[in-house]
């Protein structure tokens, strides 16, 4: 299978790479990968390239592309909010992948701000059948604070300086990515709405967001009974960093996504790379 480069979109302003398995059936979902922060479509450390190629090998049509004004994509020239732009850009991406691979339903995958974009579109677009949120919305909970502070309160050495220096260093660093959070109640209601509409959701969070998320239990602390819904899958990769800089961590993440897709959106018989 060979990837194809496209300039597409309502103003032909978007650039993306489609991976099109030779015999993907119409029923197979298309997978669209969204920008993580300002990193162009290949993803942090080429994560999105590895991801889409592995999914192509499983028979899924994929598209990794740059949203308006990110990477190689230009502005559309329209007067729109960023929310409207993202929804319209992803709609353009679904149209392209639908034309190229005949798929009608889509799974969105996004890391950090990409997760935020995926959330935004999944709230409103009926063509979205599922979403993978990587380090998406999360909130500090009572459990988070207990897990964070109790060990530190009991650690005399930290009180003597290590902790304060570490905090000072953290404060002076330049954040590579940040997600401006929606209120917790809004996100909970959004997720509930997605589940009511039949979407399947995969939430995978990493140890790289330990500033506000530090245990698998926190999924439930943040989102309540929603996480017990049969169409919700959660996983906490404590050892990994936010952008999966180590090849072994990337591999484990990609295996997990492949497994979740295979269980929830199996490739229709006859489709292969």
């Amino acid at each position: 299978m060979q990837e194809q480069a496209f300039r597409f979109g309502r103003a032909r302003h978007l650039v993306g790479i489609a991976g099109l398995p030779s015999s993907a059936a119409r029923e197979t979902v298309g997978v669209i990968v969204l920008n993580a922060g300002l990193v162009h479509r290949i993803g942090p450390f080429r994560l999105h390239v590895e991801m889409t190629r592995r999914l192509n090998a499983q028979g899924y049509p994929t598209l990794r592309f740059d949203l308006s004004t990110i990477g190689d994509s230009a502005a559309s020239g329209e007067s729109q909010t960023r929310h409207q732009q993202i929804c319209a850009d992803v709609a353009d991406a679904m149209k392209l992948l639908g034309e190229q691979a005949a798929c009608q339903r889509f799974v969105l995958i996004g890391l950090c701000s990409g997760s935020q974009s995926a959330h935004m579109v999944a709230c409103s677009d009926v063509r979205v059948a599922g979403a993978v949120f990587l380090d998406g919305y999360a909130y500090r909970t009572l459990g988070y604070h207990l897990r964070y502070y109790v060990p530190r309160l009991l650690d005399v050495k930290r009180w003597l300086g290590v902790f304060s220096r570490h905090r000072a260093q953290q404060g002076s660093g330049e954040p590579a990515f940040t997600v401006a959070p929606l209120p917790q109640a809004v996100v909970r209601a959004d997720l509930a709405g997605m589940l009511e509409r039949g979407l399947k959701l995969c939430l995978i969070y990493s140890g790289g967001i330990s500033r506000y998320f530090n245990h698998a239990r926190q999924f439930r602390e943040c989102f309540g009974g929603l996480v017990r819904h049969p169409d919700v899958f959660t996983r906490f990769f404590k050892e990994a960093d936010h952008t999966y800089i180590l090849t072994g961590d990337r591999n484990r993440l990609l295996e997990q996504i492949e497994r979740w897709l295979a269980q929830n959106f199996p490739v229709t018989a006859g489709a292969s790379s």
Binding site: E3, A5, G71, D72, A74, E174, A176, G207, S210
Partner: protein
């Protein structure tokens, strides 16, 4: 959308259409052509936006530009672990030929940052890419020192508390440089890099931080071929590993030089 966006064409080219390229056509018949050779590894991601800005600045001057990814990098075919130095040189020559064909201009200049500059210098000869000139931004001229530096950064990553909740094992970080798998052969190829004299007229754009060792002395022919840029570029600052490299002075220096050369 602007006509500029429409003039930027993404495509695959080369043997088995394995290489990704993005051709920036000049609005008017092009008078010159520049191939932008990307660096390798995380530097490539950090420089992506700057390369695009540089391409657009050159196009505004009537210069045709091709950006591309080597095999095993960016959107090109191949895994990161398959990146090979000799293949990079061959890919640069293939890309130069593609730029000649698309622009109709035979005289092609090359720009590169860090290892991208080293690739442009190493492939500049008549037998390979036939570059009319090279603009080399902080090129890696001493491969052994560069390998030692990347190894040290990779080792430090293992215990980076701003990144990991707990220190990682040495095996977790082995055979990688800052996010990318590397083969033993690439390590040896880069360690063996050593440049003496440039094979094409070269402008060396220098912006290393003051505390970084320079290896220009044995390489440049005269001081006029060096231009210093400010501020220094934080290539090797681990705290900025995922922060884009941007430099308006660099874009000005490159566009001015290309404008002035015959």
């Amino acid at each position: 959308m602007s006509a500029r966006g429409e003039a930027e064409l993404p495509f695959y080219f080369g043997p088995e259409r394995a290489l990704f390229g993005l051709f920036h056509a000049a609005g008017t018949p092009a008078r010159k052509a520049v191939l932008l050779c990307p660096p390798l590894g995380q530097d490539q991601i950090r420089c992506h936006r700057l390369y695009r800005q540089l391409a657009q600045a050159l196009v505004a001057d009537g210069v045709a530009v091709l950006r591309f990814d080597y095999y095993g990098t960016g959107d090109s075919a191949g895994d990161s672990a398959e990146v090979d130095w000799e293949r990079c040189l061959a890919d640069a020559a293939t890309a130069a030929a593609e730029l000649r064909a698309r622009s109709g201009i035979d005289q092609v200049f090359a720009f590169g940052a860090r290892l991208g500059a080293s690739i442009a210098l190493a492939s500049a000869s008549a037998a390979q890419a036939r570059f009319a000139g090279v603009l080399a931004w902080d090129p890696v001229l001493d491969g052994r020192a560069y390998v030692e530096q990347l190894d040290a950064l990779q080792l430090a990553l293992r215990i980076d508390r701003a990144r990991f909740m707990q220190p990682r094992k040495e095996t977790d970080v082995a055979a990688q440089w800052l996010g990318f798998a590397i083969s033993d052969s690439l390590r040896q190829q880069i360690a063996g890099l050593h440049f003496k004299r440039p094979a094409a007229p070269t402008l060396l754009l220098e912006s290393l931080p003051p505390d970084r060792p320079r290896a220009w002395n044995g390489f440049v022919v005269d001081a006029a071929t060096i231009r210093s840029l400010q501020p220094p570029t934080p290539w090797d600052d681990p705290r900025r590993l995922e922060v884009a490299i941007l430099s308006h002075p660099l874009i000005q220096a490159v566009t001015q030089h290309v404008r002035e050369v015959a």
